[in-house]
Structures are given as structure tokens and as C-alpha cells.
């Protein structure tokens, strides 16, 4: 009744090229040995691997598990045991961290002599007498399966709405920065136009002085108006800077602060996940220790309890950040609509004011130009 089940490490198929790391274990050939209370079942464990730490591509060892009377010695029991053991060992073998474990390697590779020695070793895990393994297997199975069977640990939230929000925030920063840059440039343009109007006005006045008569006067008036408008442009440049560019800068800063919160949230999430994983590993360990009736159990239990507390704390912190962030976003959106609305209004008013001044100034000049009609 040979059943071969091989579960390779990670998500690789057994037929993967030898360059890929793999560790495949199969538990076979149950043989009942011994009598009565000391009855046990011996299984053959075949390891196929290319891990450098392991000896050779294939190794076969014999391992035992206790076999309790009655049910314990039934074929069913044996088969169940075998399956459970297979699953258990493979699950450990497929955990990307656990598969590195020396203990596992020892279990899978050490010869009988070494094993005997280890069993009597004080601190080794194999000291524990084989009893009620079945129950333990079942417990561990469920606890470990979550950890071990998962292909990849998600380090980031897989929340589509949150993804959308993050994308939005990043895009918003880009566009706002661009808008702010252009707003600043616009301020500069106002100053430049003002300067050139001033220079143009001066030059016109000089030419007017040269011309004399009504044409000269016309140039002089034009020059004067041009200079006057130059002032208005400089003023508007300042207004733009204060009432338009500055609010845009504020907007950018607000977005950057949200980005900071996003980073915090990511950290908190990562911490939470790492702790959860660590806890699961600790649980496996704790089970092992309990199984081997180690006196390390107490210490391990303490650690485990601490970790549990930390994990809860991390979860609490993460939840808080999420909650705060959501509140912040709502407030941010509302506030910014108002802030920018005000800024836009001031911008519009300033530009309208400037344009009207310009129009008025030039229009006032027209009658003077009309009177100086063709000679």
C-alpha cells in the first residue's frame, strides 16, 4: 500500500528544473513493530531535494510513531497516521522558513543511531515520548496550514478601494505640483510684462519728445499710460502670488501629509502581518515543545502570550490609522474645495480687475488720438 505524495517546496512542481530549490518528502511502508503498550509503527521517509544543506538528492530513513492499542493498531489508524504524518512533515517542509530548520533536516536525514542519541538529548525536540501524536497532529495541521499553505505572504493591503485612493493621491500630487509651478510662472510673467511696458513707455516718451507737435504728444501720452499700467501689473503679480500660488502650495502640502499617513498605514499593516506570521510559527514551536514535553514550554508559552498581546496592539494601531485616515480624507476633500474655491475667486477677481484697468487706460487715450487726426 504504497502511496507516494510529494509536495515540493513553495509552488514548484516536482518536475521543475534542478536549478530551482525543491524539497519533496514522502512517507511510506508502514510496518507494525513491537507489542502491547510499546507497540509502534515504523515508516519509511523518502526525501528528494537539491538543498545544499541536505545530503544527496535522495535520502531514505525510517521513523517511528507510537501505536496505541485497539484502534491504534488497526489498519485505518495506521493509514490515518501515515497520512497525517505525511501531511505534517510536508507542510513543514514546504514552509519557506521552516524548511530551513535543522530539526527538520535531522528528522528527515539522521540515521537510527543519531536519532537514538538525539532522543536522549536534553534540549532536543525529539526527546518527547511519542504519545497522542495524533491529536497534536490534527491541531497543528490546522494551525500550520494557514501559514504554510499560503503561497505568498501579502505585505500590502489588497483593498481595491484603498488602491484607488492611493493612486488618486499620487496623481493629485503630480498635477497640483504642475499647477503650482505654472501659477508661479504666471506671477513671473506679470512682472516681466510690467517691466517691458515700463521700458516701452519710457522709449515712447523719448520718441515723443523728439517728434514734437501732436504726434509727439501722442507718443508721450502713450508712454505715460504704458508706465502706469506697468505698476498695475506689478501689483497684480503680488496678488497672484499671495492669493493664488500660495493656496496651491498649501494644497500640495496637504496632499503630502496624506501621503505620509499612507506610509504610516502601510507600516502598521506590515507590522500587523509580520506579527501574525510570527505568532503562527511560535504556535508550531509551542506544539513541538509540548509534544516533546520540554521544560521550555513555560518560556515558550510566555513568549507566545507576549506576542499575542503585541499583535493585538498592532492590529489596534492599524485600525486606528485606517479610521483616522478616512476621517482625514473627508475633511481634506471638503476643506480643499472651499480653500481652492476662494483662491479661484480671488484669482478671477484680480485678473478681471487688471484687465479692466488696462482697457480703461487705453480707452482713455483714444479721444486724444482722434483729435490728432491726419494733417
Amino acid at each position: 500500500m504504497e502511496q507516494q505524495r510529494s509536495i515540493s517546496g513553495s509552488s514548484l512542481s516536482p518536475r521543475s528544473p534542478s536549478s530551482q530549490p525543491f524539497l519533496s518528502v514522502s512517507v511510506t511502508d508502514p510496518v507494525k513493530l513491537g507489542n502491547g503498550v510499546q507497540a509502534y509503527i515504523s515508516y519509511r521517509v523518502i526525501t528528494k531535494t537539491n538543498f545544499p544543506e541536505y545530503q544527496g538528492p535522495e535520502k531514505i530513513v525510517i521513523r517511528q510513531k507510537s501505536a496505541v492499542e485497539k484502534f491504534r493498531f488497526s489498519a485505518e489508524f495506521i493509514e490515518m497516521r501515515r497520512q497525517a504524518l505525511d501531511v505534517f512533515v510536508n507542510r513543514i517542509a514546504s514552509h519557506h522558513e521552516l524548511q530551513q530548520s535543522e530539526d527538520l533536516r535531522t528528522f528527515l536525514q539522521a540515521d537510527e543511531e543519531t536519532m537514538e542519541r538525539l532522543r536522549f538529548h536534553e534540549t532536543g525536540i525529539f526527546k518527547k515520548k511519542p504519545s497522542d501524536l495524533m491529536q497534536i497532529f490534527k491541531d497543528v495541521q490546522s494551525k500550520v496550514s494557514d501559514v504554510v499553505l499560503g503561497k505568498e505572504k501579502p505585505v500590502e493591503e489588497s483593498n481595491p478601494e484603498y488602491e484607488k485612493l492611493k493612486h488618486y493621491i499620487f496623481e493629485l500630487e503630480n498635477h497640483l505640483t504642475e499647477a503650482q509651478k505654472q501659477a508661479y510662472r504666471l506671477v513671473k510673467r506679470h512682472r516681466e510684462l510690467g517691466q517691458s511696458l515700463s521700458d516701452f513707455g519710457k522709449a515712447a516718451k523719448l520718441l515723443g519728445a523728439c517728434e514734437g507737435n501732436d504726434l509727439g504728444k501722442a507718443f508721450s501720452e502713450l508712454g505715460a499710460k504704458s508706465e502706469a499700467l506697468s505698476f498695475k501689473l506689478q501689483k497684480e503679480a503680488h496678488q497672484l502670488l499671495m492669493n493664488f500660488e500660495e493656496p496651491l502650495k498649501d494644497y500640495v502640502r496637504a496632499v503630502q501629509s496624506i501621503k505620509a499617513t499612507i506610509a504610516e498605514r502601510a507600516n502598521a499593516f506590515r507590522q500587523q502581518c509580520e506579527l501574525a506570521e510570527t505568532i503562527k510559527l511560535k504556535e508550531i514551536n509551542l506544539d513541538k515543545l509540548m509534544l516533546t514535553r520540554s521544560d521550555k514550554v513555560g518560556e515558550a508559552e510566555l513568549e507566545y502570550k507576549e506576542l499575542k498581546a503585541d499583535s493585538e496592539e498592532a492590529t489596534r494601531r492599524f485600525d486606528t490609522i485606517v479610521r483616522l485616515m478616512n476621517e482625514e480624507i473627508v475633511r481634506f476633500q471638503d476643506q480643499k474645495t472651499i480653500d481652492m474655491g476662494v483662491a479661484f475667486h480671488e484669482f478671477a477677481k484680480g485678473q478681471a480687475r487688471l484687465a479692466n484697468s488696462v482697457a480703461d487706460a487705453w480707452r482713455s487715450l483714444l479721444p486724444k488720438l482722434e483729435t490728432c487726426s491726419p494733417a
Binding site: 488618486y168 510673467r189 507718443f219 476633500q333 474645495t337 478681471a352 491726419p374
Partner: protein, 536 residues
């Protein structure tokens, strides 16, 4: 094909590259002189680039402009023009003429063609040159009356000849300066670009000639425009033969025995011709300037001298203003550009806030941003249009810098005519004194000194001819003075009208566009009127 010289063509390109939303500019009114200076071209091309980059984004978000916006009106009503419309639009060409002149003379330069220099070719394969199709339409009687139309091909060399002939015939007039030969440029630029530039310059030049009240009636211009084949204008004296003439006559002149053609004497001593005369006039001018001796005939027209000073001052200020005008145009262009970029940034923001908005405040803000973008884009467009108009108006300043050159030419005609008079006058003086000396010496010898008597006779002959020459020179000088005077009056009148028109047009445009901009911003102010600051 004729459209090539339509400088509205530059604006056509502008329109072509804009998307529907932005094409507000309808056909440019014939007021465009078409005489866009290089700065206009530069402005147009930059405007071009900016438009095509931004247009694609605006399309999807912003609403198309209203019908009212689509009708563009030039704010200034000035339509006085030399008209570079296609000859097909002859009706508009006739209309745009100033009412005072019912005569019109319009010239188009088009269709540059490469031709080979066949004869005298030392280089294997020959050199090549370009010819241009010159089309003329006129109703002037000199050209055959109403409905006259002529067409022929000319090369640049012919234009140089025409220009030289006119300089000789119209001394004292403000003759428009012909385009440069620009040898260096022709090597450096792309040949296409160079040829196009030259074509445009020729068009401007010929039409300026056609606009000059005296020159437009000249035989030289008529022959150039009408008579096909090699330019038959005969130079008054061929350079080579002049040199020879001068060389032959030189020994005799040295001896003082040359029979001088009075008329020739009145003509300015030109390069290669009459070397001796050049030396003498040079000597005279040195005497005038440094000799401390008052010349026999002096420039007495104080008014003229003052005028000359004024022209110098005017040129300086004009040049300065022209430069500042260029800077102003650049500043307006930059403003329009940045407004456009700002609008574009807000279009992108609008899009972002609209796609998958999670809050109502986002939708509101998206609307606000769209309104800002609309106003900014509109403003940008208005700045660009304003600038195109500004360039056209302020181009007059640049044009008059060219006129100054013509004025300087006319003034130097006068100076050289005066120098001729002065030279001949001092010739006369020295002749007189020589005669007197000889006569005095001869009278001391009883019965007469045969050789001396002969000499005296010869000198008296020379004196008579010299007096005639001097009279001619004086007449010429007076003629040139009169030309100067008339031209100055014409310049004053035309300058007055041109500049007034320019100022009016400039001011009208500034006002008109500012008002349009104010409308756009007032609309935005209203749209955002819900957000009023507590303080305001």
C-alpha cells in the same frame, strides 16, 4: 501658387494647426500689409507650436467657444495697405488704396525657379541662380491705363541694377533701400528658406517703390516691370569704360587741357570713374573740414542742418522704441503661453477629480477647476491674438528704420552735390588766378609772349567750360535740395499718418482684447462667487 506671397498665409498655418475649438481667427482682413517682419514670423511659429501641444487636452474637457467668440473682428479699422493679397483678390486691393490716389500699382513676386547660367561659365556644369515671377497690375497711364497686367521673370541681379539706376536718377529722393545681397546668409541658410525670404523681401521692396509718388512713374521701374528679356537699362557710364576714360583723360586733366563735358562734370564722381575728380573732391572736402578755410559755397540752409540733426535723434529713439516693442511682444507671448499651460494643468486636475470621484466636494471642485481652465485657456488665446495684432502695428516702427536709411541716402546725395559745386568753384577760382597771373606776366613783355598768349587762350576756354560745369552742378545741387525739401514734407505727412494710425491701432487692440479678457475673468468670478473670503 499666388498664395505664396500672401502673408496671411502665416496666419493660415496658425489656423490650420489649431483644433476646431481654438480656431477663432477668420480670414485676416486685407489690412495686413503682409509685410510681416521676421519677428512676426517668429511669433507665429512659436504660437503654432504652443497651440498644437495644448489643443489635444483642451478638446475633451472644455466646451467649445460660443459663436460670438468665433467671429473675430480686428479692433482697429486701419486698412491702409500696400496689399499683398493674391492678385485674385483684386477687388480688395483696389478698395484698400487711400482715396487720394485713384491710381494703383500692385506688384506680386512669386514662383522662384532655379536657372542655369549658360554663358561665361568657367565652372563645369555652370552656376545657377534663381528667377522670380513678377506680376504687375495697374491702371496708371504710363503703363497703358486701366486693366494693365504684366508678367515677367527677373533675377536678383536685375533688382540691384534697378536700384543703382534709381539712385542715379533720383538723387535727393528718399529712395527705398533694396534688399541685401546677403552672400553669407545664402550659404548658411537652407536654400528654400533663403529663397523664400528673398522673395518676400523683393515683394516688399518693389511695392515700396510703387508707393513712392515720383519713382512709381519712373521709366526705370516701368522697364523693370514690363519689358521682358535682359534688363536693357543702360548705365550712364559703364564702369570699365569709365575707368578707361578716366585713365585716358588723366594726363590731359593733369595738364588742365581736358574738355570737360559740363553735364558729366555735374554728376557725382563715382568709383572707377574720373579718378582725378575723386582726388580733387576729396581734397576739397578735407579743406572744408580741416582747412579752416570757409568754402566758397557753404551749406547755408540752417533749417536743413537742424533737420539733419533731428533725423539722427529720431533714428536713435525709433531704434530704441522698436527694440522695446520687440520685448513687449515677447512678454505678451510668454504670458499667453503660461496662461495656456496653467489652463492645461487645471484640465488635468478636472479630469482626475471627475474620474471616480468619491466625494461630492470633489465633483464641486472639478466643476470649479473646469471653469478656471476655461478662463485661462481663453485668456491664453486672447493674448496670442493680441500679440499677432501688436506685431503688425509695431512693425511700422521697424519699417521707418528702413525709411531713415533712404533719408540718409538722400542727404548724402545733397552733400556730394554740394561737394561737386565746391570743387568746381575752387577750380574756377584757381583758374582765374592762373589766368590773371599769366596776363600780368604777359603784359610786361612788349609785343606779347606767343606761348603765354596761347596758354591764356586755352585757359580761358577751360574757364568757360568750367563755368558751364559749375552752373550745371549748382543747378543739380538746387534740384537735389528741392527734392530733399519735398521728400521731407512727404515724410512728415506720411510719418504723421502712419504713426498715428499705428498708435491708434495698437491702443484699440490693447483695449479691445483687455475687455474680452475681463469678460472671461468676470465670468469665472461669478462662477466662484459662492466662495467669498470672510475678510472681503
Amino acid at each position: 501658387m499666388m498664395r505664396q506671397e500672401n502673408h496671411g498665409g502665416e496666419d493660415t498655418d496658425l489656423r490650420g494647426s489649431q483644433d476646431d475649438m481654438e480656431s477663432l481667427v477668420l480670414d485676416e482682413p486685407p489690412s495686413s500689409n503682409g509685410q510681416s517682419s521676421p519677428s512676426a514670423a517668429a511669433v507665429s511659429s512659436v504660437i503654432d507650436r504652443q497651440t498644437s501641444a495644448a489643443s489635444q487636452h483642451f478638446n475633451s474637457i472644455l466646451e467649445p467657444p460660443s459663436y460670438a467668440d468665433a467671429i473675430f473682428t480686428s479692433f482697429d479699422s486701419s486698412s491702409a495697405s500696400n496689399g499683398h493679397d493674391s492678385p485674385n483678390h483684386s477687388s480688395s486691393a483696389a478698395e484698400s488704396d487711400p482715396p487720394a490716389r485713384s491710381e494703383f500699382l500692385k506688384i506680386w513676386v512669386s514662383d522662384p525657379q532655379k536657372e542655369l547660367e549658360l554663358s561665361n561659365s568657367l565652372v563645369p556644369g555652370g552656376t545657377s541662380y534663381y528667377t522670380y515671377l513678377i506680376t504687375t497690375r495697374t491702371n496708371m497711364p504710363e503703363y497703358g491705363g486701366p486693366g494693365s497686367e504684366f508678367s515677367l521673370r527677373r533675377r536678383f541681379k536685375d533688382v540691384v541694377t534697378l536700384s543703382d539706376r534709381l539712385s542715379e536718377s533720383y538723387r535727393g529722393f528718399f529712395i527705398p533701400i533694396r534688399p541685401d545681397k546677403s552672400v553669407v546668409e545664402s550659404q548658411v541658410m537652407q536654400i528654400e528658406q533663403f529663397v523664400e525670404q528673398r522673395r518676400a523681401a523683393l515683394s516688399r521692396y518693389l511695392n515700396k517703390l510703387a508707393a513712392h509718388p515720383a519713382i512709381r512713374k519712373s521709366e526705370e521701374l516701368r522697364v523693370f516691370l514690363v519689358v521682358n528679356g535682359k534688363l536693357p537699362l543702360v548705365r550712364s557710364v559703364d564702369v570699365a569704360s569709365r575707368m578707361l576714360d578716366g585713365a585716358v583723360r588723366l594726363p590731359r586733366q593733369l595738364v588742365g587741357e581736358a574738355a570737360i563735358d559740363a553735364n558729366e562734370a555735374a554728376q557725382p564722381a563715382k568709383g572707377g570713374r574720373d579718378l582725378l575728380r575723386i582726388f580733387r573732391e576729396l581734397k576739397q572736402s578735407v579743406v572744408n573740414d580741416w582747412g579752416g578755410v570757409k568754402p566758397v559755397v557753404a551749406e547755408e540752409d540752417k533749417e536743413f542742418l537742424e533737420r539733419k540733426e533731428k533725423v539722427v535723434g529720431f533714428e536713435q529713439q525709433l531704434s530704441n522704441l522698436s527694440q522695446q516693442a520687440e520685448f513687449l511682444v515677447k512678454a505678451q507671448q510668454d504670458m499667453g503661453e503660461t496662461m495656456g499651460e496653467l489652463g492645461l494643468a487645471f484640465v488635468k486636475l478636472t479630469k482626475l477629480e471627475t474620474e471616480g470621484a468619491m466625494f461630492e466636494s470633489q465633483t464641486t471642485r472639478a466643476t470649479d477647476m473646469k471653469n478656471v481652465a476655461t478662463a485661462a485657456v481663453k485668456s491664453s488665446r486672447l493674448y496670442r491674438e493680441l500679440n499677432a495684432q501688436t506685431v503688425k502695428h509695431l512693425d511700422k516702427l521697424h519699417e521707418y528704420l528702413g525709411v531713415i536709411l533712404a533719408v540718409n541716402g538722400a542727404f548724402s546725395d545733397r552733400s556730394s552735390a554740394l561737394l561737386t559745386v565746391q570743387t568746381l568753384s575752387s577750380d574756377l577760382v584757381s583758374l582765374q588766378s592762373r589766368i590773371e597771373k599769366l596776363e600780368a606776366a604777359a603784359s610786361k613783355i612788349f609785343g606779347g609772349d606767343r606761348s603765354r598768349m596761347r596758354k591764356i587762350e586755352e585757359l580761358k576756354e577751360t574757364l568757360k567750360v568750367s563755368e558751364e560745369a559749375k552752373d550745371c552742378a549748382v543747378k543739380e545741387y538746387e534740384r537735389i535740395k528741392e527734392n530733399n525739401r519735398n521728400e521731407l514734407e512727404r515724410l512728415d505727412r506720411e510719418r504723421h499718418d502712419d504713426f498715428m494710425g499705428m498708435l491708434k491701432g495698437f491702443v484699440l487692440n490693447q483695449a479691445g482684447y483687455a475687455e474680452k479678457m475681463a469678460n472671461a475673468w468676470e465670468k469665472l468670478a461669478e462662477e466662484t462667487s459662492g466662495y467669498t473670503r470672510d475678510a472681503s
